[in-house]
């Protein structure tokens, strides 16, 4: 009996503690905390916009410890966007962004919105200053997300009914799925720039990317070349239906995965006989697999493949070669160099 009573007491105490914490949060948010600031900021934006509509917003902004307003083009707000069937209006630039997409995280930092990001998912490992947390984009936990008190959540896929949950809580959510090709990647980037209040920086970043890409593309050899991009040793590959596989077409190469991708998934599983038969001249693998180019070359029968015979198996960084993002030119440049090298061999 006493033991039971103790247990009940403990339980009661725990419950009290839990509700107490929740209550504290409420007070915080409504009193001295973020909500109040948010209201103030909105007013500020309104005034600023009226006073200096063209300003990039360098002058006359009140100091704010939450974020640097200098970079935000306040004149662009309110901004309206539609995502996953839901329309949102942002009266001011979001300053507590939670990014559950490594691509979005890279873009946010590239367009100067890095200061507005309060949390990024566990795979957001670039840039180094990104506030990586243990939040998951694949299996998102809505309570964990809301504990960062976000005013914008960016996701790559609507797992666990996240969009509906966040909509219920009136937290704006932007769905930014992996783009199908390079050009629509720029559009996604522009949208993120607009919503976060960094239109000018986004334009700059995009222009830089475009010129870097053009430079990288120029270094590719003129001759066409058969390429096999291997994702794992079950022969999953990237076809031109996805932007990674599409890079090869941009480089004037022939991606052997294209013929196998009847459904247009972008990531078909090739059958080994076909790989040998189509005889790729360059094989690209990533640094996240558990094997090396030597292992690939040693596979039985693969000594019949031109790329293996001439030693043209290159390793690319998986993070760059799986995300559309500001570092895409690095991937293109690495592949272009490999193509030049194997064209010479």
């Amino acid at each position: 009996m006493p033991r039971h009573r103790l247990l009940a007491l403990l339980l009661a105490a725990f419950t009290l503690l839990a509700t107490g914490c929740a209550g504290d949060d409420d007070v915080d948010a409504g009193g001295n905390g973020e909500s109040a600031d948010a209201v103030d900021d909105t007013t500020d934006f309104g005034e600023d916009a009226a006073a200096a509509p063209t300003a990039g917003g360098d002058a006359g902004e009140p100091a704010n410890d939450d974020y640097e307003q200098d970079d935000v083009a306040s004149g662009d707000f309110p901004v309206t966007f539609e995502s996953a069937g839901q329309a949102w209006t942002l009266d001011a630039a979001p300053k507590r962004i939670v990014s559950l997409s490594p691509t979005a995280t890279e873009i946010l930092f590239a367009v100067g919105a890095g200061d507005q990001v309060v949390a990024a998912d566990s795979f957001s490992n670039y840039p180094p200053e990104a506030p990586t947390t243990d939040l998951s984009g694949f299996d998102p936990n809505i309570e964990a997300i809301t504990s960062y008190d976000p005013d914008l959540v960016i996701i790559a896929s609507d797992a666990n009914d996240l969009v509906a949950g966040l909509t219920e809580l009136e937290i704006p959510v932007l769905m930014s799925a992996a783009p199908a090709d390079i050009e629509s990647g720029y559009e996604d980037m522009a949208e993120i720039g607009l919503i976060t209040g960094h239109v000018d920086e986004t334009a700059d970043a995009t222009a830089t990317m475009r010129s870097e890409l053009a430079t990288a593309l120029d270094t590719a050899p003129e001759t066409s070349m058969r390429i096999y991009h291997e994702l794992d040793d079950n022969f999953f590959s990237a076809s031109s239906y996805g932007f990674i596989g599409a890079v090869y077409a941009e480089l004037g190469a022939e991606n052997i995965a294209d013929e196998a991708d009847n459904d247009g998934t972008g990531f078909p599983q090739l059958t080994e006989e076909y790989i040998l038969e189509s005889d790729p001249e360059l094989i690209v693998i990533t640094d996240q697999v558990s094997y090396t180019p030597d292992d690939v070359a040693a596979r039985p029968g693969w000594d019949q493949i031109s790329a293996v015979r001439s030693g043209n198996i290159v390793v690319v960084e998986a993070d760059i070669a799986s995300r559309w993002g500001p570092r895409l030119p690095q991937f293109v440049s690495a592949v272009a160099q490999a193509m030049s090298a194997s064209a010479g061999s």
Binding site: L270, T271, E277, T286, P300, A318, S322
Partner: protein, 371 residues
């Protein structure tokens, strides 16, 4: 021969016929004569194997393939019309894959039949004992966390899958505290262990990056991609030894079906027989799963098909399940390799598509019989 019938019949034969008379009424099909069905099963196997060598994503000339095959026979030299690359496709990719399909299918079929006999439960299969879940966890750990478990030529994933499978079986046995006489307890222990291992596997999978997660997932779906003949060499000895043990113990299963007391009365130690059969079947499954990933329904469905052909004696069911299992998986793999060529379907998905409706049909019929 006919004159001495009652006396000449071995004890096992007598036992078998009594079993057939007593229990064997659940699925009463028109049983083909055993010798005839054995011939049919072997012929099917040979046919499927030939079909497999001539069909594939790469467009090899059929005549050329046959000539190259004959050329490889000892003492025969007819030359080959295939190019060097075509030879590599045939001998380094297509044939090892066929061999792997035969070995894995045969192992799963034979182990499934043995499990069903030992537990007197037509639903018993490698999944229920946690073998597959254990192998899955081992593979995920090896792939995802860089556990370097390779032994010599054995890769890290097969090795870890093997260890995981053995751990799961041992775990099930421990939980059941050696209650071999109560198959239900062991099966339920297997369910508990499998649930635990699956949970651990799902958790581990969550911590992986996309590339590794995809690698693990495609392994979990089951695939027969080989590293040439090397894996056959690794798998072969396990299959041979365990297969031999199961084959020589198949009559024990017929005795165990009647009951432990009856088994003791004819001088059999039921607990020991069960242990030997379970260990051999588990080892065989673990070896197969560690190479091919999880291929569902072969171990469950194949023995039922064989039962429809030859009745309820394990003397026939165990060896024929090996042969039918081998044909079945090789046949299904032709589909995996060619249905969406040059892309590929996971073979485990096809076995489930074929196996699940068939199994539902078997259950439906049984329900009709017992009602």
């Amino acid at each position: 021969m006919v004159a001495g019938t009652p006396a000449a019949r071995s004890v096992a034969e007598t036992r078998r016929s009594s079993v057939d008379d007593g229990v064997g009424a659940a699925i009463e099909g028109a049983f083909v004569a055993p010798r005839l069905s054995t011939t049919a099963v072997v012929a099917t196997l040979v046919g499927v194997a030939l079909l497999s060598t001539t069909i594939g994503a790469a467009d090899l000339p059929v005549a050329g393939v046959l000539r190259a095959l004959i050329d490889r026979l000892p003492l025969i030299d007819v030359g080959t019309a295939l190019t060097e690359r075509q030879e590599a496709i045939l001998f380094q990719i297509r044939l090892p894959r066929l061999a792997l399909g035969l070995l894995v299918g045969g192992s799963l079929g034979m182990a499934g039949a043995s499990y069903q006999g030992v537990f007197r439960n037509p639903l018993a299969d490698p999944y229920l004992l946690g073998v597959s879940a254990g192998a899955g966890l081992g593979a995920v750990l090896a792939l995802g966390f860089g556990l370097d478990m390779g032994w010599g030529p054995v890769g890290a994933v097969p090795a870890a899958a093997f260890v995981g499978a053995i751990c799961a079986v041992a775990g099930s046995a421990l939980v059941a505290r050696g209650s071999w006489t109560s198959p239900a307890i062991l099966l339920l222990a297997g369910v508990a262990i499998a649930a635990l291992f699956s949970a651990a596997q799902t958790y581990a999978l969550h911590r992986l990056n996309d590339t590794l997660a995809r690698e693990v997932l495609s392994w979990l779906f089951g695939q027969l991609n080989t590293s040439g003949w090397r894996q056959i060499g690794i798998l072969g000895p396990y299959v041979a030894v365990c297969g031999l043990v199961l084959h020589t113990h198949r009559r024990h299963l017929d005795v165990l079906r009647i009951g432990d007391d009856e088994a003791r009365s004819v001088g059999l130690n039921p607990a020991r027989s069960r242990l030997v059969i379970i260990v051999a079947a588990s080892l065989m499954t673990a070896a197969a799963v560690s190479v091919s990933g999880l291929i569902a329904f072969v171990g469950l469905v194949v023995p039922h098909v064989v039962r429809m052909l030859v009745g309820h004696s394990y003397r026939m069911i165990v060896p024929l399940s090996a042969l039918v299992g081998a044909s079945f998986l090789a046949l299904v793999d032709i589909g995996a390799r060619t249905l969406v060529a040059p892309s590929e379907l996971p073979v485990g998905v096809i076995t489930a598509f074929v196996g699940a409706p068939f199994f539902a049909y078997v259950l439906w019929r049984r329900a009709g019989v017992s009602a």
